[in-house]
Symmetry: none
Subunit: 229 residues, 2 copies
């Protein structure tokens, strides 16, 4: 059954929700703040997150946005305190899939969770495929020739970028602008990209010194070739 991560700073609410969700047949994990949430997510990706808007060490919306930025696209249901319209709009804009206004009936939450899971399981388009490589974006899992491969966040983003722009030549400028958004500055002469390419090759190529997927276009950039049509 599906694993639900519930994040709220009120232990009473957590207790009630956990009980109700388990009755409904879900596996339940809990966290009380942003730090714990990340900690959990780094270990195991749940199928859905129930997220309180206000957390002691941060904002639920920021957390949600950050999830999306890292290509973690599992559904998020927000718990908002008041039902001010602005909160709803903000919640949905931040990438949440649904929201429930406190105080709420546990039954309603369960129903929304089920609906959300049903909806998103159909949209399983989050699977990217290129030749012998299969990327399950929500689970952040990559298989190459059937074998599981663990990628770091940067490597994962890089691979997604390549697959979404298959066959096109990506300049280093383009890659830099895609993976190092505004806040993180990166000197134009930095060789980080090349190094990440090196790491990615060593993980997905059969013979990294004779790459079949990530091809170097000297003087320009790199090209991802899923097959040899």
């Amino acid at each position: 059954m599906a694993l639900i991560l519930v994040v709220d700073d009120d232990p009473d609410i957590l207790k009630v929700l956990k009980a109700n969700l388990e009755i409904a047949g879900f596996e339940v994990a809990t966290a009380t703040n942003c730090a714990e949430t990340w900690q959990f997510i780094n270990k195991r990706i749940p199928d859905l997150i129930v997220l309180d808007l206000m957390l002691p060490d941060g904002d639920g919306m920021d957390l949600c946005r950050e999830l999306r930025k890292r290509h973690i696209s599992i559904p998020v249901i927000m718990l908002t305190a008041r039902d001010g319209i602005s909160d709803r709009v903000l919640g949905l804009e931040s990438g949440a899939d649904d929201y429930v206004v406190k105080p709420f009936e546990a039954i309603e939450l369960v129903a929304r969770i089920k609906a959300c899971l049903r909806r998103t399981s159909l949209e399983s388009l989050e699977r990217l495929r290129a030749g012998e490589i299969v990327v399950d974006v929500p689970k952040r899992m990559v298989r190459v020739r059937g074998k599981r491969v663990d990628l770091t966040p940067k490597e994962f983003e890089l691979l997604c970028l390549f697959i979404n722009h298959r066959e096109k030549v990506l300049t280093r400028d383009f890659i830099r602008n895609s993976l190092w958004k505004d806040n993180k500055k990166l000197y134009s002469w930095s060789r980080v990209i090349d190094v990440h390419i090196q790491h990615l090759r060593s993980k997905i190529e059969k013979d990294p010194s004779n790459p079949k997927y990530i091809i170097t276009i000297p003087g320009v950039g790199y090209r991802f070739m899923p097959s040899k049509r």
Copy 2:
């Protein structure tokens, strides 16, 4: 609208798929085995093929390989029986663009078909053509008489310049100002341009010593003539 050819030996599946795809606005043709598939393809090339892996008179992958061998490069979506070994084999062997695991939701298949068509139809834009030469700019790929040709950055820029100014005589001054922007100085007596022309000719001309595309205009420069039909 796009024409989809669905190949499956189960008439029930065919019926369901046909109905769903037509609702989605596609024109649908069906076949139940390899023989029928080839028969159809010889009459009319569809925009996309949905192909069952197991067919009564052959293997979907073989059919797919055969398509590629005949340079029919329309997208193929495979229907595979189960996850597991099959997708490893798929990845290794066939030239399919995507696959869907049975049993599947019709919605997912439609979504994948749309994604696939969107990808491949966008690709046919941004293309330059000149006689037997096809240049795909974002992919930086050049085909001459159907064969792939690798160009260095300077050669590529030079070729694009020629194609964009076809039939016109380009002086060396003009070429120098176009490819060597201000920062890079280039002595007026340098012969670099001639050397690059030489390299380009050796890659795109059938007989480099009797060029048909890049014609020398003595005392002036060069002219690109794609005219031969």
